[in-house]
Amino acid sequence: MKHNSFFRRYLGIPYIIYLVLFVVMPLFVLIYYAFTGRDGSFTVKNFIGFFTQSNTLGTLFYSVVLAFTTTVVCLLVAYPVAYILATSSLKKKSVILMAFVMPMWINFTLRITALKEILTLIEHNLAFHPFINSVIGMTYDFLPFMIMPIYNVIMGIDKSLTEAAGDLGASTLQSFTKVVLPLSVPGIISGVTMVFLPSMTNYVVLDMLYNSTYIMGSLIGSYFSAYDWHNGSMISIVLLVIILLMTALTGKKDGKGDGKKKEAYV
């Protein structure tokens, strides 16, 4: 037993090495660049610049609106699918679920290229609707990330809870809104974080669907390709802090949800 736990501890080493080399150290490098100027001296100019330049704020706004819309659309599409799949008595559930997840196995640039042609057939000229196209592209890309966690959470809800709600006189709708929906909030939250955050920076979709407006990812990229690593790093850091704050906010609720789920299982 003792030997076992001793051995186990060492299993974590590869991950720790990975973490330090590719997560922690680069983070310090980012912080270093974010708070230095071109001459290498300490400065907070980049930090102030982030909040005073209309460019970064405009881009932040555009990214947030884009990510928000994508998330809402994803949620509206994903929830019913996950709910129906999880609660139906279909035998081949996993097959249907696979049909939603399978596109993820195909290279995403390939998928977006295909989507581009489909959208061109519908709209004729993509350049007139860059925002909507981007939302469609992102939704297409991130939908599985929304379906999976919601599906898993709904699967985990004890059937007897809805039965009990029914016994106590709740209609199907009521038992959904008062039992299933609140209990699936943790799934929604983890789905939202998995969709919202990447869609703020995934500029490849925008590039491929001919949206010429920058989002945060492309703005960072443009600073880096202009040899301005300092402003690029600063934007990354601020974005990271925003993301951390959001996960901290949602994580709290997520954690409580998990706790509840565990209690339910106990």
């Binding site: 680069p26 706004f61 010429s212």
Partner: protein
């Protein structure tokens, strides 16, 4: 000291990360070495080359791709050209050269890689990046022996086009000509590829097509600040550029160069407005989709480098789709990609330097020039000198199949001719003035109105990049007041609702 150390560590780290990204992204470093048996006995030298992606013949041609020229010369890319170089180098010098070949996607990417500490011996950036590297004193000059025309292996000096040679000697950085540090590889101009069913030649022959509302959302421009800036300058300075007293003045070429390299703050501000206009009119800022979008009919015209224009027209021909190429009448951007040796890589190593120079010469050997040109579609700076292979190849590609009165005499003497009285004329199809030949070897008139775009100094660089970001970023001022109100509703109300609802449930459950 500490900062130095920190910098060093950060460079190594960023380098590792960037390297792994680059390796994954670009298909990795290809290592080519001679037969293993020869190792151990012979002297070895490692040559680290970094070139553009898909910018060299990789061999493996089909039998039908074999090029048979008029004089019976047969050119066939059987092996990777790097393997051929290794073989030749061993045969000539008895030295095993290990070529470590990697690629980059943009000049900026290469520059960042070099700054991160990646070491290469020989790289092939564009004109302005060569200038920047010269200013930074990163480049190693070629040996005297490299310029010795009596050595038959010096294919570069013997074969480089007199026109290109002149440009490389004329353009100077800190009083030193480019030719001392750089050997040309490929060159070209910029222009517009268009679909003649939708766009007339006149409409395509001006940078203003990017602003032309007739083609609203049907034209693309490059997603690249330098190309976009040049095109917008063509529009912004149109009146001057088209003015007869300007074009016919004695020092037209110098004035043109000065005009197109204007990076004063005021000009940048005005160009920003032009580019914003362009942004509202074009289909997109594209990096690589322009060619295929022409064929699928998404766009009717796009900004293109001449080498890519050749490729685009070739591809379209294969799909039975007819495209043409025009160079705006205002001006065009003359560009080069060239080989430069890097001090950091070569160091004091004479063997390495010799190998690097031999590589440049090998790439300039007429048959290899043809192989590369065939493979990548761009135009080599090599005209061949006494050797007619390159000109024969141009004839092989573009000479009219049938004799006809409509055929035109296409003059490329400026490029191939060593003496003024030598004439190099290709009897070409009637449409050659708008087709591949025109893109491959632009006419003398186009060359006359072409300017090289210098590198931006630090101030200009900051201003222009800021300008570019201003163009591309969403402007908060663009939001109408009514939308602002709606947005607040859309964002704030759900948050409040969720808060109340969610908080409510929590209370109920916990009670």
């Amino acid at each position: 000291m500490r900062r130095e150390a920190c910098r060093f560590i950060s460079k190594i780290l960023l380098g590792t990360v960037a390297m792994s990204v680059v390796t994954i992204g670009s298909g990795g470093t290809v290592s080519v070495s001679a037969d293993d048996k020869t190792k151990g006995k012979d002297k070895e030298v490692t040559l680290r080359i970094c070139n553009w992606e898909e910018y060299i013949d990789e061999g493996d041609w089909d039998e039908e791709e074999k090029i048979e020229l008029e004089d019976g010369t047969v050119i066939f890319g059987e092996n990777n050209i790097l393997d051929d170089f290794t073989e030749l180098y061993y045969d000539t010098y008895g030295v095993v050269v290990n070529v470590e070949y990697s690629t980059f996607g943009t000049n900026e990417e290469l520059y960042n890689q070099l700054n991160l500490g990646d070491v290469y011996d020989l790289v092939c950036p564009s004109d302005y990046m060569i200038m920047k590297l010269m200013v930074d004193e990163e480049v190693e000059p070629f040996d005297k022996s490299f310029f010795d025309e009596s050595n038959e292996l010096n294919y570069y000096v013997k074969g480089v086009s007199p026109y290109i040679k002149n440009e490389f000697e004329k353009n100077k950085i800190n009083g030193e000509p480019w030719s001392k540090y750089a050997a040309g590889y490929m060159w070209g101009v910029t222009g517009i590829v268009y679909n003649p069913d939708e766009v007339t030649y006149e409409e395509a022959s001006t940078w203003s097509i990017l602003q032309n509302e007739k083609f609203n959302r049907q034209v693309t421009i490059k997603d690249n600040v330098r190309d976009a800036y040049f095109a917008a300058m063509g529009i912004y300075k149109k009146d001057l550029l088209m003015d007869k007293s300007f074009t016919e003045s004695d020092n037209y070429h110098d004035e043109l160069s000065k005009c197109m390299n204007d990076v004063s703050k005021d000009t940048i501000d005005d160009v920003e407005d032009v580019l914003k206009d362009i942004k509202d009119n074009v289909y997109s800022f594209e990096t690589d989709s322009g060619k295929s979008d022409m064929v699928t009919g998404k766009v009717v015209a796009n900004f293109q480098w001449s080498g890519d224009a050749v490729y685009a027209l070739d591809q379209a021909d294969e799909d039975d789709f007819y495209l043409e190429f025009a160079v705006p009448k205002e001006c065009s951007n003359l560009w080069f990609d060239g080989w430069v040796m890097l001090k950091k890589g070569i160091g004091q190593d004479e063997d390495k330097k010799q190998a690097a120079q031999a590589f440049v010469n090998f790439m300039s050997r007429p048959d290899n020039v043809v192989r590369n040109m065939y493979y990548i579609g761009y135009t080599s700076v090599i005209s061949g000198g006494d050797d007619s292979t390159v000109f024969d190849y141009a004839k092989y590609c573009y000479e009219a199949e049938e004799e006809s009165e409509d055929n035109i005499a296409y003059d490329v003497s400026y490029f191939f001719g060593n003496d003024s009285d030598e004439e190099y004329i290709i009897e070409a199809e009637p449409d050659a003035m708008r087709r591949q030949l025109f893109a491959q070897y632009p006419t003398k008139e186009v060359i006359a109105r072409s300017a090289i775009m210098n590198y931006f100094d630090d101030d200009a660089s900051v201003n222009i990049n800021q300008m570019w970001i201003n163009v591309r970023c969403f402007d908060l001022k663009d939001i109408p007041e009514s939308v602002k109100g709606m947005l607040i509703l859309v964002f704030v109300i759900p948050l409040v609702v969720i808060k109340i609802k969610y908080g409510g449930y929590r209370r109920r459950i916990s009670s």
